[in-house]
Assembly symmetry: C2
Homo-oligomer: 335 residues x 2
Amino acid sequence: MKKIINTPEKYVEEAMEGIVAAYGDKVEFLNGDFRVIVSKNCRQVGKVGIVTAGGFGHLPVFLGYVGEGMVDACAVGNVFASPAYTKMEAAIRAVDGGAGVLCIYGNYGGDKMNFEQAIEDCEMDDITCKSVVVCDDIVSSPKNEWRKRRGVAGIVYVYKCAGAAAQQMYSLEDVSHIAEKAMKNVHTIGIALSPCIVPEVGETTFQIADDEMEIGMGIHGEKGIEISKMMSADEISEVLMEKLLTDVELQKGDEVSVMINGLGATPLEEQMIVFRRVAEILKGKGVSIFMPHIGEFATSMEMAGLSITLFKLDQQLKELLRFPANTPFYTNVNK
Amino acid sequence: MKKIINTPEKYVEEAMEGIVAAYGDKVEFLNGDFRVIVSKNCRQVGKVGIVTAGGFGHLPVFLGYVGEGMVDACAVGNVFASPAYTKMEAAIRAVDGGAGVLCIYGNYGGDKMNFEQAIEDCEMDDITCKSVVVCDDIVSSPKNEWRKRRGVAGIVYVYKCAGAAAQQMYSLEDVSHIAEKAMKNVHTIGIALSPCIVPEVGETTFQIADDEMEIGMGIHGEKGIEISKMMSADEISEVLMEKLLTDVELQKGDEVSVMINGLGATPLEEQMIVFRRVAEILKGKGVSIFMPHIGEFATSMEMAGLSITLFKLDQQLKELLRFPANTPFYTNVNK
């Protein structure tokens, strides 16, 4: 296991300490607990709080988006494991400024169960909570059962739009309506080329042959829909886009933001080659691209591969996407 | 060779096309030539132009820093190979706004030879040029011959400070003085855990055993100073910092920016664990950290490993580092 770590047991805690040591001007632990990271001034009277949570090992997701204009607090689990509901509860209580709290999280059993428990407890103390569960991974369930899909990189767009709305003091109802709309407009599909190693396990999560790739694999190594021989960048782009465009209804004149998300070990150069072909395909359909996002947004440690997310935009979502944000891993300058 | 590319021959061109397709609001090709990328409005009357150049395969270095507040133009070579001097010359001519041009590049034979030729040609047409050659890799030559050292990730800090000075309309003499000061204040050392593959070659640039790492390896796979058994994150941090602190004179009360630079395949989580220990070591010496940079700044495609750069600051360099910048791969919001 070739990882730059100390011990598997300290992996999450030490990485979290590094983040707070680096970005202490933006974020801090809640009461010294590395399991809950909050934005500086995370509780603002009259502002809707935005909370998220999830397992570790996906940086920048989830906690990396805690900061100005995005998420106010994040509960952090172990690698690929949901945090305890008590941590989510602490996060919700920490950001409640009287206007209610929106919980945005990916559609995984543990996170869902724990958030529901946390919300129930908070509501007993009259904190109004709403939830938006992100389920953007199109291969993980058919379209007619899309609420069963897993949440992957598209969550970043949901944070961005909800965070911008909350920052502008929209009501809880409006912020959650926007988050729900953004969530319904994100669709993602990925491929994996190589596995990752969970530190506490010490061996690769799955095997994949030297000349093969897996289409539709989840960010925890969940089985995809097809193992195929390695394809060229253009072929990969075409195969993934074909599946996305079957799911997303796009028409001439539509605008989308495209996210090319490296899973950890895939070079930026390769992501750019994929973006090039994706842009050509969209141009061919008369669809224009607004504020593309290319880089690492939701990873699986050292997994190689990438995902493509299409985020269908309207005027409101465009303005929210453009709104300034300043977090340790996401900076947007509105020009 | 498990790369998401089309053909090795088209690797650079297609990645460059992807970059311009994505960030066409910030950068463009010079006269349609993918070998020279320029910032929008790269020529401003009275502003010193900043030009760089280098081989491909190190994204975001070099061309990713072309944009507002950093670099005005970059000539782009093949993978790990210097561009032709004619491309550097075109870049210099494109950005000359009458106040002269500063060329900032890493200390490699090809880049140096070609920049010297390009500058000679431009000066015949009365474009005043100056050069700052970055040589921050401390293991590549002893301290008393530091001008022979290779240039690595520290160049990003030199771009940042010189670019901020140029943006504020400092004279060529002042901008190059600042760049030279920044260059003398950056010191870098790296480790490699796994090799990369140059697409046109199709096989790994070197071998490294499964339980080993190489200290001091260059970003093109240049031989390091020591092959050792894999160490823990804290041990790696301590070994690298010990070597850096022998070379850099730091005293209690000094301020530095620290860059933890992933070489391509090393997860952010691991970079954070290293930063944590580096911050502890500096704190122990009474040295404070200003604006740390953690992520991928100068890579070798899919190489695993990282480098640590210390950038010793004074008041002027701090202000220049804080100055806003907005390039495809580097955004700074001055707060």
